[in-house]
């Protein structure tokens, strides 16, 4: 697999890997293409993501995307985090092989799920994609 050095770096040393015990929001999504699963845990303070962790059952691109995506939105407001696209994640990783683009979708979707889970727990309306 032709992965960039950035992908290999995030795959080999994933940032923010793990779970958060008393998280404020959790999002779990499955990949319809190959059957993989990603789970995102959020801690939110003053509308900002103060902590974030991920767990991924998937390929190198899926793990690297989770790591990169969590790093990109840590400390950001929920609105900013919502706007993170899978393309931006792929670009930040110096690109993904075309067949692996769907793996970065998993990160975007899991973040959306986690944010909506937080909003619902707060009694707020979930956002639309």
């Amino acid at each position: 697999m032709d992965y960039s050095l950035k992908v290999m770096d995030h795959f080999s040393n994933p940032r923010n890997m793990g779970s958060i015990e008393n998280s404020d929001g959790v999002g779990e999504v499955g990949n319809p293409a190959c059957g993989d699963i990603m789970k995102i845990y959020l801690k939110v303070e003053d509308n900002r993501i103060s902590d974030i962790k991920f767990q991924t059952f998937g390929c190198g691109a899926a793990i690297a995307s989770s790591s990169m995506a969590t790093e990109m939105i840590k400390g950001k407001t929920l609105e900013e985090a919502w706007k993170l696209s899978n393309k931006a994640v792929a670009e930040a990783l110096d690109g993904l092989p075309p067949i692996k683009m769907h793996c970065s979708m998993l990160a975007e979707e899991a973040i959306h799920e986690a944010i909506n889970d937080y909003l619902k727990k707060k009694g707020l309306e979930p956002w639309d994609d």
Binding site: G18, G35, D36, Q55
Partner: protein, 404 residues
């Protein structure tokens, strides 16, 4: 050690490289290379030419043909050289189908064949043929009883592989050959993975057509053979010149054919000895790997190739497993959907009833001549750590199998 990635950058790999993907391909033996070289340099003549260097090439091809025939218990004029296992499978199946379509349009194969067989059969279905894909049991074994039940009046071909490339299961080919013969149906077997591991006698096993490929037994890539029993009604696949007794056109790949001949001679002479060593390594590897919790063996426990180990580790994905093994200099393979260009999980493991998410965590280690006891030790040393690392990362792993 240092290796280069595809961008040409150097990547450091700890320790020596351990190649455990011999079912994908093998290195060409030094002695084989040496026999090949003169046929690329001074003896480069076309075997169809009548002058001296042409005759030398022709004799070399004939000599290689004899070696292949001897390895299979066949006659020289029953051996045809091809571009590899894929062409041999295509030729056998399409050739029999079209030459015998006035007799019937039904073909029987199994659900765990290589794509060279399965995709050929699927294409024939589009041409009006009907194909039965026999199921296998959890070990990947075809049942002769099921085969008997699938036979129809219009069945013209049975194609069942000798040994499977993913899980190593060895099929009851002699029994299948007997059934085919009793019912007067042609029997083709893909023996690509079996050469050098399973003794073959096409007469005793009632095999009418057999595919093999040089690069799986320390011969060159892009060269294979099809054995066609004398008197078999089969169409030509590649039309053109009069090579291979007018049945397979194209100037012979003389150096590769010479290499294949030498390689099959060496591989079949050493079967017993090499299997003894490989079996020891295989059993040690399997035993060690199954000590990892939630690890399962795929394929048959005993009726399997001496060089094949295939295990699944629950909760993890195979491509990431291969990447981490690669970083340790260990080269292996997986049936995970994420590692295939179609994003489909292994059809072989699926046919054995392994659920999709568990197919994801499959690992094939296929042993070869250059693997040692030390290599097995090293794999057993690094694999548990890697599996644990990925399990810690996976949302599927239950608490009791996590270390963080």
């Amino acid at each position: 050690m240092i290796i280069h990635n595809c961008e040409g950058e150097s990547v450091t790999i700890e320790n020596k490289v351990i190649y455990m993907d011999n079912s994908a391909t093998t290195p060409v033996k030094r002695e084989v290379v040496e026999e090949m070289i003169p046929y690329m340099t001074e003896n480069f003549g076309n075997p169809s030419s009548i002058y001296e260097i042409g005759k030398i090439s022709k004799h070399a091809v004939d000599k290689a043909r004899k070696k292949v025939a001897d390895a299979l218990g066949a006659e020289e004029n029953e051996i045809y050289f091809t571009s590899g296992g894929t062409e041999s499978d295509n030729w056998a199946i399409k050739g029999i189908a079209f030459a015998n379509r006035n007799k019937g349009k039904h073909i029987i194969t199994s659900s765990i064949e290589h794509h060279a067989v399965l995709h050929t059969c699927a294409w024939l279905e589009g041409q009006g043929f009907e194909v039965t894909y026999l199921p296998v049991d959890k070990y990947g074994m075809v049942s002769p009883e099921e085969l008997k039940k699938a036979i129809r009046d219009d069945t013209i071909l049975i194609s069942i592989m000798l040994a499977n490339n993913e899980i190593g299961t060895i099929q009851p080919v002699e029994e299948i050959g007997k059934i085919a013969k009793e019912n007067r149906i042609y029997f083709h077997t893909d023996a690509v993975q079996a050469i050098g591991h399973v003794p073959i006698d096409v007469k005793k096993m009632n095999i009418d057509l057999l595919s093999l490929s040089g690069h799986k037994f320390e011969g060159p890539k892009g060269c294979g053979s099809l054995y066609i029993r004398k008197g078999t009604k089969i169409d030509v696949l590649l039309h053109g010149g009069a090579q291979e007794r007018k049945r397979r056109a194209g100037t012979e790949n003389v150096p590769a054919i010479v290499g294949l001949g030498k390689a099959i001679e060496l591989a079949t002479a050493e079967i017993e000895e090499s299997n003894k060593t490989l079996l020891e390594l295989r059993e040690r590897l399997i035993k060690g790997l199954l000590k990892i919790p939630k690890a399962h063996l795929n394929g048959h426990p005993t009726q399997r190739l001496a060089n094949n180990v295939n295990v699944t580790f629950e909760y993890i994905e195979g491509e990431s497993l291969l990447l981490l093994l690669n970083a340790k200099g260990i080269f292996a393979s997986t049936g995970s959907a994420c590692n295939s260009s179609s994003l489909e999980p292994s059809h072989v493991l699926t046919a054995c009833g392994v659920p999709h998410e568990i197919v994801h965590g499959s690992l094939r280690l296929s042993l070869g001549k250059m693997n040692s006891e030390k290599d097995v030790g090293r794999v057993l040393e690094v694999l548990p750590e890697i599996v644990q690392r990925l399990r810690n990362m996976s949302p599927l792993t239950p608490k009791e199998y996590r270390t963080i």
